[in-house]
């Protein structure tokens, strides 16, 4: 149990350090990537390529072992259907990402810097998650 938590802590540290090194904590740089009609900044493509490459190596190792080192089983999504919530949610997320240059990881990692704009974004993001969960629950009970 303790080992699992320490491993999760180490993974979080690597993630936060990687975000800081990569430049992705800077919304200006992220927006520079998304602005294909402006002076394009390709940084995000290199970050994503590096991240997906190493992460894919991890999945290849995972396929060869029966269970994780510290847990009884792998917990990996198995769904393959493309449904409306997947696409609709991705559209909403994309609009918010494009408006601000923030996605969840960098916005949280930047909290330590104490910038008011980041605090507002994170507070609103948590509120958005809460509202979305509330709506889902409301819909589930009204359909019954």
């Amino acid at each position: 149990m303790t080992a699992r938590i320490l491993a999760a802590l180490a993974a979080g540290l690597l993630f936060g350090l990687g975000l800081a090194v990569s430049g992705m904590m800077n919304p200006r740089r992220v927006l520079g990537f998304l602005d294909v009609a402006g002076s394009w900044d390709p940084t995000l493509a290199f970050v994503l390529a590096g991240a997906v490459g190493v992460s894919a190596a991890g999945y290849l190792v995972a396929r060869r072992i029966k269970r994780p080192w510290l847990a009884p089983s792998f917990d990996i999504p198995t769904r393959r259907d493309i449904d409306a919530p997947l696409v609709g949610g991705a559209i909403l997320f994309g609009i918010g990402w494009g408006l601000s240059g923030f996605c969840p990881g960098p916005a949280l990692a930047a909290l330590g810097a104490g910038l008011p704009g980041d605090l507002i974004f994170v507070a609103a993001m948590l509120a958005g998650m809460w509202i979305s969960a509330r709506l889902e629950r409301f819909r589930a009970t009204s359909q019954r």
Partner: protein, 142 residues
């Protein structure tokens, strides 16, 4: 506008993020999806709350390692106004919850395991973000 960019630093930073995803997968068997980790911790704690809280503590502390080495915070340039940040935060929170993931869960982890759902999600949120930035920056000309 930023004119300088360094592909090696970007690849190295991305590699660390990938290493994080691989470590969480191989040790705990879990996906390193930030929106999912935060959302579950806030909305449905209980089993799994401890590792999620530990991961988040690491995520928030990771940049401090950068500060310790570099002597300064990485650049964080926020140009959006507070009302826009508020609206953007709501959209990102609701959208990632509804679409089951963000740049990390669908991007870093989903693409790495060639998930069909994640490929669709990444293509969709990238397109939506590019269109949004285009409209904001180039759409309304005086």
């Amino acid at each position: 506008m930023i004119t300088d960019w360094n592909p090696w630093q970007a690849l190295a930073g991305g590699g660390l993020i990938g290493l994080s995803a691989a470590l969480l997968l191989l040790s705990n068997g879990k996906i390193a999806g930030i929106s999912g980790i935060v959302g579950r911790l806030m909305l449905a704690p209980g089993e799994g709350a401890a590792w999620r809280a530990a991961f988040l503590a690491g995520l928030l502390s990771g940049p401090l390692l950068f500060v310790a080495f570099a002597g300064h915070w990485p650049d964080i340039g926020i140009d959006a106004s507070w009302p826009v940040l508020l609206a953007a935060g709501l959209l990102v929170g609701a959208g990632t919850r509804w679409g089951h993931g963000c740049t990390s869960g669908h991007g870093v982890c989903g693409l790495a395991r060639l998930s069909r759902r994640s490929m669709v999600a990444v293509a969709t949120f990238m397109a939506a973000a590019i269109v949004t930035v285009f409209v904001v920056r180039h759409g309304i000309q005086p």
